[in-house]
Structure formats: C-alpha cells, structure tokens
C-alpha cells in the first residue's frame, strides 16, 4: 500500500473530483464529503511519503505503469516536494471543509461542480509538485489552471471577467513554458528531470539554453504573478469564489515558484551564466514587486484586493530568497513558501467568513468586528502579525533566514535587506490599519446576510479551518527550528550543500 502513496496523492482527488457530480446527484452533500475525504487521504499519503523519504534519505521514485524512466513518466518525491505537497494538501483540505456553508443553498449541480473543480485544482497542484517529468508538469499546470479559472469564475458577476482575463494571460504563461520545454527537449532529447539534469551539463552555455531560461522566467513569472507580470492577479484573487480563495491565493501562486526552484537549482544545478543572470533579473523584478505590491496594498479599500497586492509583494520575498543562491536564502524561500501559504490562506479564510456572515469586504466597515467575530478576528491578528514578520509568528522566522541569506550575499544582499525592511514596515501600515479598524473604530452597523444562531460566530465548518490555520501559524513559528533541521535541511539541492 505505502509504495503506492505517490500516485494516490494525485489519483484520489482526481477520481473523487470526477465522481463528485454523480455523488452530488444522489445526495447533495455526498460529493462534497467524497472530495474532502479524498483530499484528506491525499494529505495522509503526502505525509506518509515525507516520512518515507526522510527515513530512507533517498527520493521515492514511482514509475507510472512500471515504465522505467527516461522513457516512462515517473513521480519523484524528495523531502522538498513532499513538504510542499503536504502543505498544499493541508491548505486544500482546510478549504474543502470550509466551503460547505457557502454551497448550502445551491443546487446539486453547483455543489458537485464546485467540488469537481476544487478536487481538480488540488490534483493539478499536487501533480505539479510531485512529478518528475517536465511535460507532465505542463499537463498538471494546465489542469490546475483550468480548474482555477472555473473556481474564480464562480465567485460572482465580476469574477467571470477576471477569470477570462486570467485565462488569456495564464495561457500565454503556459505556452511560454511549453516552448521552453520544447527547447529543452530539442537540446537534451529527454523529458525526464533526473535524466535532463545529467544531459544538460555540457549544454549549459549554449544560446538555446539561455532562451530556455528566459522562457521559463516569463512563463512561471506569469503563473506566480511576479512583478511586472502580475496584472491578472489582483482581480482574480479579489473575485475568486470565497471558499476557494484560500487555496488559490495560498498555494496556486506558490507552486510555480516551487517549480522554478526545482528547475534552477535541481535540474540546471544553478550553474552557468544564464541562470545567474536569470536569477538576478528575477531578484530585481521581485524587489520592484515587493515595494510596488506593498504600496498598492496600502491604497486598497477592498480587503481581498489588499491581500492580492500583498501577495505580489510576498511572492517577491520568495524570489529574493531564491535569487540569493545560498543555503540561508533558499531555506528562507522554502520556509516562507510554507508560512505564506498558511498566512495568506488564513487571511482569505477570515475575509471569507466576514463575507459569508455580513457580505462586506470593505475595510472601512469593519468597526468593532471583534465583538461579533472574536475568534476569527484574533486569528486574523495572528496572521497579520505574521505577515508583518513579528516574532513569535511564523513570518518572522522566514524573514530571519532571508535576511541572514542577504547578509551573507554581501553588498547585493544589503540592498535586499533594505527592501525587506521597508516592505515589512509597509506591511505593518496596511495590516495595522485593518487591526485599528477592527478593534478601535466605532461600530459600523453591519447587517447580517447569513444570520448566525447559537454560540458560534460562524458555522463550525468555517470556524474550524480558521482556527487551525491561525494556530498553525504560531505552531509553524515555534517549531521552525525543527522544520529546518529535520526536513528542509535535506531538501536542499546538492549544489548548495557543497
């Protein structure tokens, strides 16, 4: 059983997603339970894989249909992607539980359809993370994107437009990636990542390779909303279906970064002038994005839009960590990937809760919200402090590693430090502004859209994920030394360990 874990990570949500409409037809709740259960099992499998790979110290190879690579497609699970997959599936599970109240009044088809898309999104993201084949990655990328378009379009009237725009831009990104794969295939003659890592070595200085790097930066840059390719992102995050926003904002933007790390550090082994140049360019773009994203976030009144711009900035943190090219930087990037998935997920869960109960997303209307939704608001405070990077929340620790890496990188790094510091302060401005509104401003007299009876401020399906994610941020922060020494240390690429 346990040797089949890798494929089950993808297969379970995939089959559940496809069966979801049928089950929903039988009973409206069955489809939802099926997908939730499948994602939970997938999470279990990810954790199982993580344990296996950590225990054995080697990557798990799973040959699809028992075709040996490089001919067959394989899933490769090492500590890095097992960690990312675990986090992705965890957030997906939280989102799946969280979605129920939103679909309470909808028809069986809508419920079933929503969970089909949701399951497919989880499938696509997990697939992208664990695959060991470059073209396979493209397929999963498109699965995730297509279901993502659907989930964004389900958010309401404005969302259809946002979704369509995202579709156009996202397809450009995917096409760039596909072109890059074409070039790589042309020069190396293989699609298997491990095989490619060997064959690429003599070709690292060829012009074709430089083109590949350029294409990947644009392709992944669009998908991860790297400044200045982030145009699609604010609208999409803002108008996405509130129940799916946590997964879309928390994980969907991160997986391309994981893919970038996989390519640049594991397959191309960060060697050659082209990679160095590419990383530097990405670093500069990221710095611009950090500042611009933070400034734009300050200007927003819509909480979700503020979060979306803040994501542009936070993506920049990850890229900076990646661009630094030293151990601390990469640890910081991966740690921030995990932390930010939790923070952003938790913030979107919070605003989803407010939206569900009061139908309001305008920051100015949040006066005295903490009296009405105390738990959600306190969890929001934790997430906000973490975004600012104040200890002992998780955000501080990833920042610690990023600053450490920057400091080690020398003069270029000092520039990054300045950017990180400025951005933390800008983050503080827009998050403390919201905290101020929630705790200090006079009551805004919100009207309940979905009145809540009983003691709980939200249905338990929503409150539970909010609580778990919020406390998760603290737990991640306090246990980060363990995470780094027991997991991430083994997830580093070989180039850096030397």
């Amino acid at each position: 059983m346990s040797e089949n874990f890798p494929i089950l990570i993808v297969l379970l949500p995939l089959s559940a997603a496809l069966l979801s409409p049928l089950f929903s037809y039988l009973h409206r709740d069955l489809g939802r339970w099926l997908v939730t259960l499948a994602i939970a099992c997938s999470l279990g499998c990810s954790i199982g894989c993580l344990q296996q790979t950590l225990a054995s110290g080697e990557a798990i190879h799973y040959w699809m249909g028992n075709w040996a690579p490089p001919l067959g497609i394989e899933f490769v699970i090492d500590p890095l992607n097992a960690t990312v997959a675990t986090v992705a599936n965890f957030v997906a599970l939280m989102g799946a539980i969280y979605g129920a109240p939103f679909l309470k009044k909808s028809s069986w088809l809508e419920t079933g359809g929503y969970y089909t898309l949701y399951g497919l999104l989880a499938t696509g993201l997990s697939g992208m993370i664990i695959t060991g084949d470059v073209f396979n990655l493209y397929v999963f990328l498109e699965i995730a994107s297509l279901s993502g378009y659907g989930l964004i379009a389900m958010g309401g009237q404005r969302s259809v437009l946002a979704s369509f725009r995202y579709l156009l831009i996202g397809t450009i990104g995917a096409s760039f990636y596909l072109l890059g794969v074409g070039y790589l295939y042309a020069i190396t003659g293989t699609l298997n990542m491990a095989d490619m890592a060997v064959r690429i070595v003599p070709l690292i200085d060829t012009p074709s390779f430089k083109i590949v790097v350029g294409l990947f930066i644009v392709g992944f840059g669009i998908k991860m909303a790297l400044f200045p390719l982030h145009g699609w992102q604010p609208d999409s995050y803002t108008y996405a279906h509130p129940a799916a926003a946590a997964l879309i904002a928390g994980i969907m933007g991160k997986v391309p970064i994981y893919a970038c790390i996989r390519y640049f550090y594991f397959i191309f082994a960060a060697s050659g002038a082209a990679i160095g140049m590419g990383l530097q360019i990405m670093g500069i773009m990221a710095c611009c994005g950090i500042i611009l994203g933070s400034v734009m976030a300050i200007a927003q009144k819509d909480f979700r839009r503020m979060l979306a711009y803040s994501s542009v900035a936070q993506i920049g943190y990850l890229i900076v960590g990646m661009a630094l090219g030293n151990v601390y930087g990469l640890i910081g990037a991966v740690l921030h990937l995990i932390n930010h998935a939790f923070m952003k997920g938790s913030l979107f869960l919070f605003i989803g809760g407010v939206q569900y109960r009061y139908g309001e997303v305008n920051i100015d209307k949040f006066g005295q919200l903490y009296r009405k939704m105390p738990i959600a608001c306190w969890m929001f405070v934790i997430a906000a402090l973490s975004m600012v990077g104040l200890p002992p929340t998780a955000g501080f620790f990833s920042k610690w590693y990023l600053v450490l890496g920057s400091m080690e990188a020398g003069p270029v790094g000092y520039f990054y430090i300045a950017i990180i510091i400025i951005s933390s302060l800008l983050n503080a401005i827009y998050f403390f502004r919201v905290i101020e509104k929630i705790f200090i401003n006079p009551d805004a007299g919100l009207k309940e859209v979905n009145p809540q009876k009983g003691k709980l401020e939200l249905p338990w399906q929503m409150l539970l994920p909010i609580l778990i994610m919020g406390i998760g941020i603290l737990v991640l922060g306090l246990s980060n030394a363990t995470i780094v020494s027991d997991v991430l240390q083994f997830a580093l690429p070989e180039v850096l360990i030397k």
């Binding site: 200890p391 430090i417 933390s424 403390f432």
Partner: protein, 506 residues
C-alpha cells in the same frame, strides 16, 4: 569568577505566568470584574514570588538557565538570570504588584471602558519585560522586544478616540522601524560571530569580524531599537504622544516596562554584545553619550514649558532615561553601576510621580499644573509623595536618585570626562526648576477658584501604592541594598562587564 549555572525552568515560569494570566483575563471577559482582577493580582504576586525565589542564588553569583527549544537553527530560546537581568526583572515584577493595585483603583475610579483588554495587554507587557530582562541571547531578546511593541499598542490606543489612534500609529511607526533595524543588526552579529549569546564584556571575536565602520554602523542599528523605545531625542516623539493613554499605562510605559526595556537593551548591547573594550577602540559609544547628554539638557528645558503635568513628566522621563544611556556609554565601571541602579532609582521615583498625577486626575479631573494651586491641602499624602519623588529626581541626598547619579558622575571622572559631570549638575538644577513649582503650587498657593473643597484624598487603592513607592524611594536612598539587594546586583553586573578591561584612564 566562574558562574554556577543551574538548569531550571523557573525563568520561563516567571514569563509564562502573566501570559497565562492574560489568557485567563480574556476568557473571563464577561465574568465578574473581581474574577478578572483576581487573575491579575494572582499573576503579579506569583511572578514576584518566582523572581524572589531565584534571587538568593543570583546574589551568590549563580545563574539559572533554561533553553525551551531552538528558535532557529543554532539559537536557543534561552532565558538566563544573570545579575543584570535579575536587577530589571526583580524591579519590574515588584512594581507590577503596585501598579496592578493602582490600575484597579484607577480604572474603576475612572469608569474606563475595555478594561478586560487593558488588563490582558498589561499582563502581556509584563511577560515581555520579564523576557527582555532574562533573555539569554539577542534573538530571544528580540522576540520579547517585539511582543512588547505589539502589546503596548492597545494600551497606547486605549481611549479609542482620534488622538489615541494617532498616538498608537505614531508609536508603531517609531518602534516597528527601530525593531526592523535591530533585526538587521542581530543578523549581522550572528553571521559574523556565529553566536548571539550575551557574554559579559562582549562577544568574543566581534572586533576582528568586520571592519570598524561596519561595526560602528551595526552598533548604531542595534542601539536604535533601544534608543527609540527609551525615547531618546530626537526619537522621543511617540513617548510624548503616548501620554493620552490612561495614567497607569503611562506609569508602565515610563517607569516600569517599555522605556526601561529600551534602556536595558542599550545596556545589553554595550555591555554584553560589544563590550566596553571594543567600544573604546572603535569609539562608537562616544556619540551615543553625546546624544544622551544633549537629550538630558534639552528635555529638561522643554519640560519646563509644559503645563500638562503628564507631559512634563514625559519629558522628564526622556531626560532621565538618557542618564541610563549616558552612564552606560561612559563605559567606566562606576558609571555602569550607576546606569544600572538608575534603572531602579528612576523607576521607583517616576512611578510615584505618575501615580500621583493619576490620583490627582481621577480625584479632581485636573491635568494642568496651573489648575493645581492649593491642591496640597486636600491631598496631602499624594502631594508629599510627589515632592519626595521630585526631590529624588533632582538628586537630593537620602533619596534614591542621588546614589545612581553619584556613580555616573564618578564614572565620568574615572574616564577623564568632567563635561558629563557638568551636564549632570545642570540637569539636576533644571529638574528642580521644573518639578518643584508643582509642589510649590500645590502647597503654598491659594486655591483661587476654591473648587477643591469638595474633593478629598485619593482612593485608598491608589493612595497606598503611591505612598509605598515614595517610602521605598527614601529607604533605597539610605540603604540601597534594601529588599532585593539590587545595588549589589548592579555592582556584580558591572564588575562582570568590565573585568579584564585594560586602559581607559584608571
């Protein structure tokens, strides 16, 4: 002198007890206020008991140490109780008891809103202050430092009107900015020396780790965190705005936790990270001493012009805190003793002054000094306490302020820098001239409007704490080792910092 180290979780208990209390206070929001206050008092006494139980061993030069877990790789979440830390911890845990009683009296007497949040934030502040006092390395210190920053914010913005909100923002801008620079400095220290552990006399090998100018800049960045929290000029803006907060908060801000934590951080960096020897070589502490001297004089001058009593006291705090920084940055053994003991001395005196100001405000709703003519007849105890503390601030013999100032001055002479002695004398005269008129007004002027007749003395639960601290100021002035042996602790700490110090003019 080798330190005996005992691995014990007690330091963490001391920190944790008020965090737990904060949590319980939040939970008993809707319960009877007495239950809520019971938690506060229970935690205050519990914390003091834990600290006091550790004292005897620390007096003998021992250290309690405990690492709960690793914060980041290679850096533990460590609390250790060295002499310097225990001085601050003992002081603040004791004053917290008094402040708790006083707060309860003030908040009830004044019918403040949101008391639950107030007491909870207060408890968190005390945990953070305790953590700062006992932190064993820079990262642990930084964690508590930022917790203190965040926990103080709701206290500053407590009144929830426009002015309070604005002060809150100002406070955050100042402190968060300095916090980030502090962080960058810590990272630098860690990267260049491979450790962030405090070491009396400085972290070994720091001097060779980087060029002098880098060391100087990093010293500035590290100290900036402490300086802003300590309200040194030109970074004192937030402290004065924060006067909108309720008076017990001001007392906490100004006397016990926040500003003292700032001064304490400077002390830690000078004494335990850079070390006096290195600082003498790179001349980084000189400008800090100049700035402190400048602040001492200027703030006294500004204080004279303030009519609002709390604002006047705020500027007085700005000046007095700079004594600590000055004493630290003179880098002489005597001045270090003086600086550390001034943390104690100023806390006792300033808390008395703020308690008095609050008592006057709650009883008579007067905030301005010009309105307080003749108030001494109605509130004799309060105003006597106020006078004692004022004289102490000015450096009157037999009151605690003299001892610390004397040591700072002695240190300045040790280092052949008599200019600082002049500064101290000027400042003493200036503080007399801005604090004495308050007492003079209260006792010797006639109440022209006659509107004090209806008021009596302050409530008991406010009066007793402020009398206690005033008496304490005198007792400590005569017997500085009274109670917690704080003076000896300061001496031990200064000796450990300056041990093996060569040169320096004595």
């Amino acid at each position: 002198m080798t330190e005996t180290v005992i691995v014990s979780i007690r330091p963490f208990l001391a920190v944790g007890i008020s965090l737990l209390a904060a949590f319980l206070i939040m939970l008993s929001d809707k319960a009877n206020p007495n239950v809520r206050e019971a938690w506060t008092l229970l935690a205050a006494f519990g914390k003091f008991a834990i600290i006091a139980s550790m004292m005897p061993f620390v007096w003998q030069g021992g250290v309690y140490e405990y690492t709960l877990f690793n914060i980041v790789e290679g850096i533990g979440f460590t609390l250790r109780t060295d002499a310097c830390g225990m001085l601050f911890a003992g002081l603040s845990s004791f004053l917290w008891i008094l402040t708790s009683f006083y707060s309860i009296g003030y908040m009830r007497g004044h019918h403040e809103k949101n008391q639950t949040g107030y007491f909870a934030a207060f408890a968190v502040c005390m945990s953070a202050a305790m953590g700062i006092a006992m932190a064993g390395n820079l990262v642990t210190l930084f964690i508590f430092f930022e917790i203190l920053t965040v926990a103080t914010y709701p206290l500053v913005a407590h009144k929830r009107n426009e002015e309070a909100t604005f002060s809150g923002r100002k406070y955050l801008i100042y402190t968060l900015t300095s916090g980030q620079l502090f962080l960058a400095g810590i990272v630098f220290i860690y990267l260049f020396t491979g450790t962030t552990e405090f070491n009396a006399g400085g972290i070994a090998g720091l001097g060779e780790a980087a060029p002098v100018w880098v060391l100087q800049i990093m010293f500035f960045m590290l100290c900036l965190g402490g300086m802003i929290k300590a309200g040194m000029m030109p970074f004192h803006g937030w402290l004065v705005s924060a006067m909108v907060a309720p008076t017990p908060v001001s007392a906490l801000l100004h006397a016990v936790a926040v500003v003292k934590a700032g001064a304490f951080v400077v002390l830690r960096i000078v004494g335990y990270v850079y070390g006096p020897q290195l600082l003498l070589e790179i001349h980084a502490a000189d400008w800090l001493a100049y700035l402190a001297a400048f602040t001492i004089v200027t703030s006294s001058l500004i204080a004279m012009k303030q009519d609002n009593l709390k604002r006047r006291l705020a500027f007085s705090t700005v000046g007095q805190l700079s004594y600590v920084v000055l004493g630290t940055c003179i880098l002489a053994p005597y001045s270090l003793v003086g600086a550390m003991f001034h943390i104690v001395a100023h806390a006792v005196m300033k808390i008395t002054l703020f308690f008095c100001a609050g008592a006057i405000y709650v009883t008579t709703h007067k905030e301005n000094i010009s309105d307080m003519k003749g108030i001494g007849k109605q509130m004799p105890f309060t105003m006597t306490a106020f006078t004692i503390a004022s004289l102490g601030i000015a450096g009157m013999p037999f009151i605690v302020g003299l001892i610390s100032k004397f040591h700072i001055a002695a240190g300045a002479l040790q280092m052949d820098e008599p200019i600082y002695v002049v500064v101290l004398i000027i400042s003493a005269l200036l503080s007399l001239s801005y604090l004495m008129p308050v007492s003079f007004n209260a006792f010797f002027k006639e109440n022209e409007k006659g509107d004090f007749q209806k008021y009596g003395e302050a409530r008991k639960d406010m009066l007793i704490p402020l009398c206690t601290t005033a008496v304490l100021a005198i007792i400590l002035g005569i017997a500085p080792n009274f109670g917690l042996n704080l003076f000896d602790l300061a001496k031990t700490a200064a000796e450990s910092i300056t041990q093996g110090m060569i040169g320096g003019g004595w």
